[in-house]
Amino acid sequence: MTTTETTPKPATRRPRKKNASVLFDVPGPRARRRNHLLTVVFSLVFLGVLALLIWKLNQKHQLDGKLWKPYTNADVWQNYVWHGLWNTLKATIVAAILALVFGVVFGIGRMSDHRWIRLPAGAVVEFFRAIPVLIMMFFALAGPPIIADAFGRVISPLSGFEAVVAGLTLYNGSVLAEIIRAGINSVPRGQAEAGYSIGLRKSGVMLRILVPQGITAMMPAIVSQLVVLLKDSALGYIIAYEDLLNSGFYQVKSNYGNLIPAAIVVTAVYVAMNMALGYFANWLERRSRRSGKSAARSLGTGTGAPPAVGVGSL
């Protein structure tokens, strides 16, 4: 008789009930009745708030049909909304590419074995992460001619577009540097050691082992950061760059006096773009958690930028 080794089945846990949550038990009959009652009560409360809002807006003539009239005109879409959207996307895409380059350079620089590369790279990253994007944009706009003047040169000031891109690049590049560093660090140490043991050099370990696996882990976080970049491009309004907020909301509102419709249209465009990017990030995260190609754990999409100096570890 041959003994066939029976591999023990992995212990399967009892499947959870569908609605099991750490906070609540599955409701029984009484709780269900109470929940139904509360559903009705809160529905009425929300409807009441909505009705009050509509009544208030109507009182100020903000809901009149004629305020939507400009949006039946193709020129308004063409000259204001699409014009602004194109400028926003232009600034976002250029800044995203530059920020990625900045992030790769400073993220890898911060992991260097040489102190004279590591420390300055770290200082730059932490400086730009600790100050608001807006004051970088102000300085990008006002600073260069004055600095050039001190060197006896004359240069024209940066355009609004360049200032927006500069501010977005420096801030988001620094955040991406942290994401890239965390992504590379999330690859288990054994991977790098295995690389060295088969005779790869530092650059080979980085390029052939750490980066390919790290990218899978950091992609969701990078795409999440692009949402921040896209939203921050609206700061361009403050420095008079004709972005979606400036052209699609402020100018439309100023020319046609339709504040509420303009706000609704522009908000819808921003929310749609950002939610699409957000879903893409979540999809990437699910995919990278599923795939067995990387030994690194996905950094996740999180709720924002990696922690500031001193706040926890990523």
Binding site: R16, A20, S21, V22, L23, F24, D25, N35, L38, T39, F42, K56, L57, K60, Q62, F127, A130, I131, P132, V133, L134, I135, F138, F139, L141, A142, G143, I146, I147, A150, F151, G152, K231, S233, A234, L235, Y237, I238, L245, F249, Y250, L259, I260, A263, V266, T267, Y270, V271, N274, M275, G278, T303, G304, A305, P307, A308, V309, G310, V311, G312
Partner: protein
């Protein structure tokens, strides 16, 4: 090359009073926003994890709208929309109405992020903890109060710190709603004395004095309160 002109710190010290009053407004905005954003954020987080579908849907709607809308748009709407068009807070004097409109805009925006951090914290508590609490006979309230929420709050300290630091930096946008805080003072100084490196550095250091200690404090607190699992 004219180093003296490039690194002339005199304008910073000449306008020190103005700069400090700008940062004082930044601090006041941050403090009030932190309080209101925590209250609204906790309420919305409660809605998002509640067993009542209507509340969950409303919470999700709130977070999706305010998290995905640029803060500049929200604050601009507070200034142009709520004050100029709908006539809220118009009777107060200009700087006060600008302050409270900024606090309102910053609070509703930051609350969406606080809600998401809190919800993520609740999700880090393993289901087994709640099941164990029930199985030793704790009631719903006891298991929430003694087991689930203490663990959730501790794991949420570091993310909340990050959100609050981002909020401090975001107060710079409040100038579009009419607050004269540090960024507005800096813009004014750039117009008056020019955008020199010392002026920029002065304001950058001012912001770092606000953000870095906050970061270290929350890092220390998070480490101290960490749940060992």
């Amino acid at each position: 090359m004219n180093l003296h002109q490039l690194l002339d710190f005199a304008p910073v010290f000449d306008h020190l009073g103005q700069i400090l009053s700008g940062f004082w407004t930044t601090v006041r905005l941050s403090a009030a926003t932190a309080v209101f954003a925590l209250i609204i954020g906790t309420a919305v987080a409660g809605m998002r994890v509640s067993p009542i579908p209507v509340l969950r849907a409303a919470g999700t709607l709130y977070v999706n709208i305010f998290r995905n809308t640029p803060l500049t748009l929200i604050l601009l709407f507070c200034g142009l929309g709520l004050r100029d068009t709908l006539g809220l807070w118009t009777n107060a004097d200009a700087s006060l109405s600008g302050y409270w409109l900024s606090v309102l805009g910053l609070s509703v925006y930051t609350a969406a992020f606080i809600c998401e951090s809190l919800r993520a914290g609740i999700n880090t508590v393993p289901l087994g903890q709640a099941e164990a609490a029930r199985s030793i006979g704790l009631t719903f309230n006891q298991s929430l109060r003694l087991v689930v929420l203490p663990q959730a709050f501790r794991s949420v300290i570091a993310p909340l710190g990050s959100v609050l630091i981002a909020m401090i930096k975001n107060t710079s946008v409040a100038l579009v709603a009419g607050s004269v805080e540090a960024a507005a003072v800096m813009k004014q100084m750039f117009d008056d004395v020019g955008g020199t490196i010392p002026v920029f550095l002065g304001f950058a250091i001012g912001y770092m004095i606000l953000t870095l200690p906050t970061g270290y404090f929350f890092g220390w607190l998070a480490k101290r309160m960490a749940v060992s699992r």
